[in-house]
């Protein structure tokens, strides 16, 4: 299935602080932060011309897993996200492949205008997110 890199996800303590520091590298706000109560995060996007975006993910206080990641790594990239034509078909396809572990079935995500997303973990690659094209 064809796919293209959509964004790199950063877990951050505070979106505005990270955004301000990324500005020194030429990034500008691409999408104002929104609250995603399903993923228990605030999510915003920054971008530079012609490049995949950076997703800034600020976990809620009760998001224990991402809070733990923040403590262990500090602000850091933790996933790549690819845009695909049919995330449901991609989910079925990858689920049959050895080494790909789904975190959850495709769900709507408010940060993507309710487009479907899903996540996989691969021990050799780490976390990979997929978002539906439309």
């Amino acid at each position: 299935m064809e796919m293209k890199l959509h964004h790199i996800g950063y877990v951050v303590e505070k979106i505005e602080d990270a955004q301000q520091n990324f500005e020194a590298l030429g990034y500008k706000l691409a999408q104002a932060p929104v609250n995603d109560d399903i993923q228990k995060c605030r999510i915003g996007f920054i971008a530079r011309d012609g490049e995949p975006m950076i997703e800034l993910v600020e976990p809620y206080e009760n998001n224990k897993s991402l809070r733990k990641m923040l403590i262990q790594r500090g602000n850091a990239p933790y996933h790549m996200c690819y845009e695909v034509e049919d995330v449901e078909a991609l989910f079925d396809e990858l689920s049959e492949k050895e080494g790909w572990m789904p975190l959850f079935r495709p769900v709507e995500a408010i940060a993507f205008g309710n487009r479907l997303i899903t996540y996989f973990y691969n021990a050799q690659i780490g976390y990979v997110e997929f978002v539906n094209e439309k």
């Binding site: 224990k64 897993s65 689920s95 050895e98 572990m101 789904p102 975190l103 996540y119 973990y121």
Partner: protein
């Protein structure tokens, strides 16, 4: 790893893995325990639990299995079938 473990023995070892991964020494699991019963058991920690169980029991799970687990009983049954 002995391959004649009872499901109670597997459950006890699953509980040890959960305690270690979730950093909660007071956690107690039963065959009926679900993710809703364990505060820190979310989709990200689920993967860490799967990886921890694979290492502990020297087995591999497939995607279908880990998506079909509805409670700890499902986890234990999957492991029992592989030992």
């Amino acid at each position: 790893m002995k391959n004649n473990m009872t499901k109670d023995e597997i459950l006890k070892q699953v509980e040890e893995v959960f305690r270690s991964v979730l950093d909660d020494e007071t956690l107690e699991l039963t065959m009926e325990t679900t993710a809703d019963d364990v505060e820190d058991w979310d989709s990200l920690s689920h993967i860490q639990l799967v990886v921890g169980l694979e290492k502990h029991f020297h087995i591999k799970f497939n995607a279908r299995e880990i998506m079909e687990w509805e409670n700890i009983g499902g986890v234990v049954n999957s492991i029992a079938a592989k030992l």
